[in-house]
C-alpha cells in the first residue's frame, strides 16, 4: 500500500500539462527512486489523472457534449489498484480536482487508499489565468467573446466576505471558475478537509520553464524527483494561441452552429485536433488582453487574494509577487497576422476534405466494382 499520496489538484491553466508531462517523462526514474506516477490506466497511456477523477460516479458531468461525460468507472478503480499496490509514495495529478466542491472532493478522496495525503496546488496570477481560461474555452468550442467571458466571471465574484462567497461557490456546481481560481478559497477547502497543503506559485512565462519544476519539486519534497526539469517534448501543447487564431476559431463555431451543425459535428475543431502546419508562420500575432475595467478588477482581486493567502496555514513556495503581475492590456489585432492565421486554419480544414473526397471516390469505385462482381456471380 502507498505510504503517502501527493495530490496535485491543479487547477487548470497553471502549468499542469507541463508538470504532468515532466512527471510522465521522469516516471521510470521516479519508480527507481521508489515513487509512483501512474502513466497507464486501463491499458491506455495517460499523462494525467483527469479521466480517473471524472470516472468517480457522481463527479461525471451530465452535459452530453462534455468530453468527460462517458468515462469508464473502471479507470478510477485501476488508479486506486495501482496506488494501493505500490509500496512507497505516489503522486496523483489532476487539474479537475481544483474545481471540485468539498462534497465532490471528499467523494474522490474516499476512493483513494488509506494513506497520508499532501495536497499541492499550483497557483498563477489571476489576470493571466482568466485570459488563458478564455483561450481554452474557445478551444473547447465555446463562442463567448473575451469581453463577455470576463464580464461573466466579474459578476460572479460577488462582494460577499470570503467565507460567505466560498460557501456560496461550494454549493453552486457552475461556480467552477472561482472555486478553482480564488486561491484562498481553493486552499481553505483542502486544509479544512484536514490535509497539509502547499501552494506553488507559477513563475512568469518569461522565466525558464524549469523554474516551475524546481518549485514543484520543493513542494513535493521527494528526493526521487530529478533536480533538473525533464526534457519534455510537446511541452507547449497548451501554449498560448494568438488572439487572431482564437477569434477565427470562435467565429467558425458561431457560424457553424448557426448553420445547424451540432457540437458533435464539430468535434474535429476541438483543441489540438487540427493538423496545422506552423513552420511557414511569419507573424506571431497578438495576445489577448483585458479591458481597462477588467484590469482594475482582476488586479485588485489578485492583491486581496494574496493578502488572504498570507494568513492561511499553508506552505507557499515561490514569491507572492508572481501572483501580482500586472494584467496584459489588449493589443490591436494585425491584419497580416489575422490573414495568416485564417489561411493556416482554413487550409488545415481543406486538406482533410481533399483527402476525404479522394477516399470517398476510391470507396465509391470499390463499391461499384463490388456491385458488378455480385451481378456477375449471381
Amino acid at each position: 500500500m502507498a505510504t503517502s499520496i501527493v495530490l496535485h489538484v491543479g487547477p487548470r491553466k497553471t502549468g499542469t500539462t507541463y508538470l504532468q508531462k515532466s512527471l510522465t517523462a521522469a516516471s521510470p526514474t521516479l519508480r527507481e527512486g521508489g515513487v509512483l506516477y501512474v502513466t497507464r490506466l486501463m491499458g491506455k497511456e495517460v499523462y494525467n489523472h483527469v479521466s480517473a477523477t471524472f470516472a468517480v460516479p457522481g463527479l461525471r458531468t451530465e452535459r452530453s457534449s462534455h468530453i468527460w461525460s462517458n468515462v469508464n468507472v473502471d479507470i478510477i478503480h485501476d488508479l486506486v489498484r495501482q496506488v494501493g499496490a505500490w509500496d512507497g509514495p505516489a503522486i496523483i495529478s489532476s487539474e479537475a480536482l481544483g474545481g471540485l466542491t468539498t462534497a465532490e472532493a471528499t467523494k474522490f478522496i474516499s476512493y483513494l487508499p488509506s494513506a497520508p495525503v499532501h495536497v499541492i496546488a499550483t497557483i498563477r496570477a489571476l489576470p493571466d489565468v482568466v485570459l488563458s481560461s478564455w483561450s481554452q474555452n474557445v478551444l473547447n468550442l465555446n463562442t463567448h467573446s473575451l469581453d463577455t467571458y470576463v464580464k461573466l466571471f466579474m459578476q460572479r465574484r460577488t462582494l460577499l466576505p470570503p467565507s460567505e462567497r466560498w460557501r456560496l461557490w461550494d454549493e453552486d456546481r457552475h461556480a467552477t471558475f472561482w472555486r478553482s481560481f480564488e486561491y484562498p478559497g481553493l486552499l481553505s477547502r483542502w486544509t479544512q478537509m484536514g490535509f497539509p497543503v502547499s501552494a506553488v506559485v507559477v513563475p512568469d512565462s518569461a522565466e525558464p520553464r524549469g523554474e516551475l519544476w524546481t518549485r514543484f519539486r520543493e513542494a513535493v519534497n521527494l528526493d526521487a524527483l530529478p533536480p533538473a526539469a525533464p526534457n519534455v517534448q510537446d511541452a507547449d501543447a497548451n501554449g498560448s494561441r494568438s488572439l487572431e487564431e482564437l477569434e477565427i476559431r470562435r467565429k467558425a463555431i458561431k457560424y457553424a452552429t448557426k448553420k445547424g451543425l451540432t457540437i458533435d459535428d464539430l468535434r474535429q475543431l476541438r483543441g489540438k485536433r487540427w493538423k496545422i502546419t506552423r513552420n511557414n508562420s511569419l507573424h506571431a500575432g497578438t495576445r489577448p488582453g483585458l479591458a481597462p475595467d477588467a484590469v482594475e478588477a482582476f488586479e485588485r482581486w489578485a492583491r486581496e487574494d494574496a493578502d488572504l493567502l498570507a494568513k492561511l496555514p499553508i506552505n507557499l513556495i515561490g514569491p507572492i509577487e508572481d501572483l501580482l503581475r500586472p494584467a496584459r492590456r489588449p493589443e490591436t489585432p494585425q491584419p497580416a497576422a489575422s490573414a495568416e492565421a485564417a489561411g493556416r486554419l482554413v487550409a488545415s480544414r481543406i486538406f482533410p476534405a481533399v483527402r476525404g473526397s479522394r477516399a470517398g471516390r476510391l470507396k465509391r469505385r470499390l463499391n461499384r466494382r463490388a456491385v458488378r462482381l455480385c451481378r456477375w456471380v449471381t
Binding site: E247, K254, D265, L269, V346
Partner: protein, 357 residues
Amino acid sequence: MTRRLHLHIGPRKSGTTFLQQALVSNKRALRAEGLMYPMPGRSRRQRLRGTPRMHNHEKVLLAACSAEASPATEWLERALAVTSGDIILSGEAVAACTPAELDHLTAYLGAGELHVIITVRSLEAVIPSSWQQHIRNGRTASLEAFVEGIARRNDQRQEAPLTWAAEPSQDFWLSNDHAALAERWIARGARVSLVTVPAGSAPAATLWQRFLGALGLSNDDIEAFTVPSMHPIHVGLTAPEALTLREIVWQLECGGMERSERRRWAVRLVEDVFYQRTKRGPALHLTGTGLHRARQWAADDSAQLAILVEDGQVALHGDLADLTPSEIVMEINQAQLAHQITDLGGRCIAYLEGARS
C-alpha cells in the same frame, strides 16, 4: 456599303464582363440598330454538362491569333460570312496579343472597316483588380510583389523600346500601355475608339452609355437599351477578402496542392462564402510606393493618349481624367480589417465543416 466590324479588345479588368453581359442582354435592341452580337452555340455535350453560355469571343479571337484552323476559327469565318449587318466581337485577351498575333487576327477578320474599341480604366484600379484575379487563379504573390513585377517589366520595356511588344511575357503592358495598344491597331488600319471606365462610384450605366456611343449610337437610340445589374457579374474582392484568400491559397501551396486545385478551392470559397455576405469590407486599393508608381504610370499613359486624341487618331468616349483620379486614398482601419479577416476565416471554416457533415 462596307460592313463594319466592331472589335472590343478589353483589356482585362476594364468592365469587360459587364459590357459583354450588357451586349448579350440587349441583343434584340442591337439588332434593331443593325448591330449583331453573334455567339457560338453550345454543343450537346456542353449543354448536358451545364457549361454556361459564352458571353464573349475570347476563345474564337485567340484561335484566330494563332493562325491555326480549329472549330473556333471555322465558326468565326462562318459568322463573318453569313451575318448581315455590322458585327460586334468582344474578347479582352486580344489586348495582350503580340504584333505578330495581331497580324494573323486582322488577316482572319478580312476586308471591311475594322473599328477597335478599347475600354480604358485607371491603372490605380486595374492593378489591385488584376492582383485579386491573380489570387483567385490560385497564385500567391503579395500585392507588393505583384506591383514590383509590373515595375520590373516596365523597366525591361524601357530598355528595349523597339522589341518589348513582341514578348508574350509583357502581357500586362501589352494590355495596359493604352497608347501603345491604340497605336498597334492604328498601324493595322483600324479605327480606334477609347471608352474610359468612370472612376470611383459612378453608376455602371455610364460605362454602358459610353460604350454604346462608341458603337455609333446616339443618346436617343440608347433609351431602348437596358443596363444589366452588376450581379451575378463577377465583382472584385474587397481588401479583407483578397488578403484572406491569398493566405489560404499560400497555405494550400505550402501543402503541395496543384494550382488548378487551388484555383477550384479559391473559386468555391469566393462564390459560396465571400459573396454571400452583405457587408464585404473596404475596397482593395494600392498604398505607398505601389500607389505612387501606379499614378505615375497612369499620368504618362494619359498624356500619350491625350496626344492621340488631339491628333484625331483616336475617338474618345468619356473623360481622360478618369484615368488619373486624384481622390485621396482613405487609410483602412487596421483593427477593423483584422476583425473582418477573422470573420471571413471563421465563415470559411464553418462552410467547410458544413459541407463535410
